[in-house]
């Protein structure tokens, strides 16, 4: 009886092992040329509540809560990039809801991954996050789409495991945001969309 209880306790303890990662901190507002357009942004519940769960052998389950940080960062990112950005529902939008908008941006997290020193054998934690960006017209027709990958790493000696993974993830979001801020106007579909709204933007290569 006692042995059975001990065995059950051991199993429940092993099953309970894991790492919960809260991605904390603040991200800066980008210094970029503002695009003179009003846009709507659709943040799906999947985007706002994105939670990465992964079971790693001998290490337990990792739960990394990325959604809230992404949501607040992207709000500030688009506010800095456009004259106005406001949250909208999924297209097609009514004429009242779409008044003044030139397009609807939908950011989506398509992949998230991390590496710890235990897995990679390296002395740092790293995280990568892939976004799929789409710009739609008011009827829900896609005008431009492209992928952006953000990468972050942090030394293993600086923090505990949860904190180090949170920091690496934060840096990955920051890196992804930098690419979006700098490269959105470089996308052929975006250039065409801007041009159709009477805006010509010089590319970085010009």
């Amino acid at each position: 009886m006692l042995l059975s209880l001990l065995a059950a306790l051991s199993v429940s303890l092993i099953a309970g092992c894991g790492t919960s990662v809260a991605v904390k901190g603040t991200l800066p507002t980008p210094v970029v040329r503002q695009i003179p357009l009003h846009v709507g942004v659709l943040y799906t519940s999947e985007f706002k509540e994105f939670l990465h769960t992964e079971r790693v052998r001998e290490r337990g389950t990792y739960k990394i809560d990325i959604g809230q940080q992404n949501y607040s960062f992207f709000q500030r990112l688009f506010e800095a990039m456009f004259v106005e950005s406001r949250e909208v529902s999924a297209p097609p939008l009514s004429s009242k809801d779409s008044k003044g908008l030139a397009g609807i941006i939908v950011p989506k997290i398509t992949k998230y991954g991390f590496l710890s020193p235990h897995i990679s054998g390296l002395k740092f934690y790293s995280a990568s996050i892939q976004y799929h960006m789409t710009i739609y017209d008011m009827d829900g027709v896609p005008l431009a789409e492209w992928d952006v990958v953000g990468y972050g790493k942090t030394p293993s000696s600086s923090f505990g495991e949860g904190e180090a993974l949170g920091e690496a993830t934060m840096l990955a979001i920051r890196d992804g945001g930098a690419r979006i801020a700098m490269e959105t106007v470089e996308q052929p579909g975006v250039r065409k969309w801007l041009s159709s709204n009477g805006i010509g933007i010089e590319s970085r290569a010009d």
């Binding site: 800066p28 210094v31 990468y151 890196d175 945001g177 930098a178 690419r179």
Partner: protein, 226 residues
């Protein structure tokens, strides 16, 4: 009697300190390209070159440099790496930062960039590139513990090489002001005579202090006439 005891203790302490720190040899080289000089109200920012492999400039090294530059004789005003990168986001991120001072003209032509740099009051930017690596190690060292007691025996050593370079950019003239490199090398020992006795060489710390001292002199003094 008390005076003699104090003398013996002091000598013993000094011997211990000498024994516990191993020798480090260091070398500094400087290449100046323009006249420098830092006025009141102007600041310096020290940025570590980031990479996505294991051998990138350690944050502890740039922190050590920043501490050394802002203290001692003629302390300089410093803006922290985080504050500078946040204010200039996204232009000084690991994958977006300019790799040469030639890129500064284009960068400063972008809306808001020159104003933000002016707000930070940063006149000089020092990019620190390099790392400290273990180049050799050997020996044998072990510790045992039993019911009769325990102890450590043997001797192990490791040789470290610290190699760092500072590229100094003048953000007022949008040009390279010069480069300074610091190399330091030292061997640390761990001897086991029942108790473990570490004899540490700290080439990273030596390189930091040497590079910071030289960088401070480089920015304050202006030996080259324009």
């Amino acid at each position: 009697m008390e005076g003699k005891l104090f003398l013996i203790r002091s000598l013993g302490g000094m011997a211990c300190i000498t024994m516990l720190s191993a020798c480090v040899s260091s070398r500094i080289e400087e290449n100046r390209q323009t006249v420098t000089g830092i006025e009141e109200g102007e600041a310096l920012v020290i940025l570590g070159r980031a990479s996505y492999n294991e051998l990138e400039t350690e944050e502890s090294f740039t922190n050590c440099m920043a501490k050394a530059m802002s203290r001692g004789d003629s302390p300089l005003a410093l803006v922290t790496e985080k504050e500078f990168k946040d204010k200039l986001y996204p232009w000084f991120e690991p994958r977006t930062a300019p790799t040469s001072a030639d890129d500064l003209t284009d960068l400063f032509a972008r809306p808001g960039v020159a104003e933000q740099v002016s707000n930070t009051k940063v006149r000089y930017l020092a990019w620190i590139d390099g790392n400290t690596v273990t180049i050799d190690k050997g020996g044998s060292f072990s510790c045992t513990l039993s019911s009769f007691g325990g102890g450590c025996f043997g001797m192990s050593y490791w040789e470290e090489d610290a190699s760092y370079q500072a590229s100094i950019w003048d953000l007022k003239n949008l040009s390279t002001a010069g480069e300074i490199s610091a190399d330091a090398n030292g061997t640390s020992y761990l001897a086991g005579l029942v108790v473990p006795i570490p004899i540490m060489a700290r080439p990273g710390s030596a390189a930091c202090k040497a590079l910071a001292k030289q960088l401070k002199e480089f920015l304050i003094e202006s030996p080259v006439e324009s």
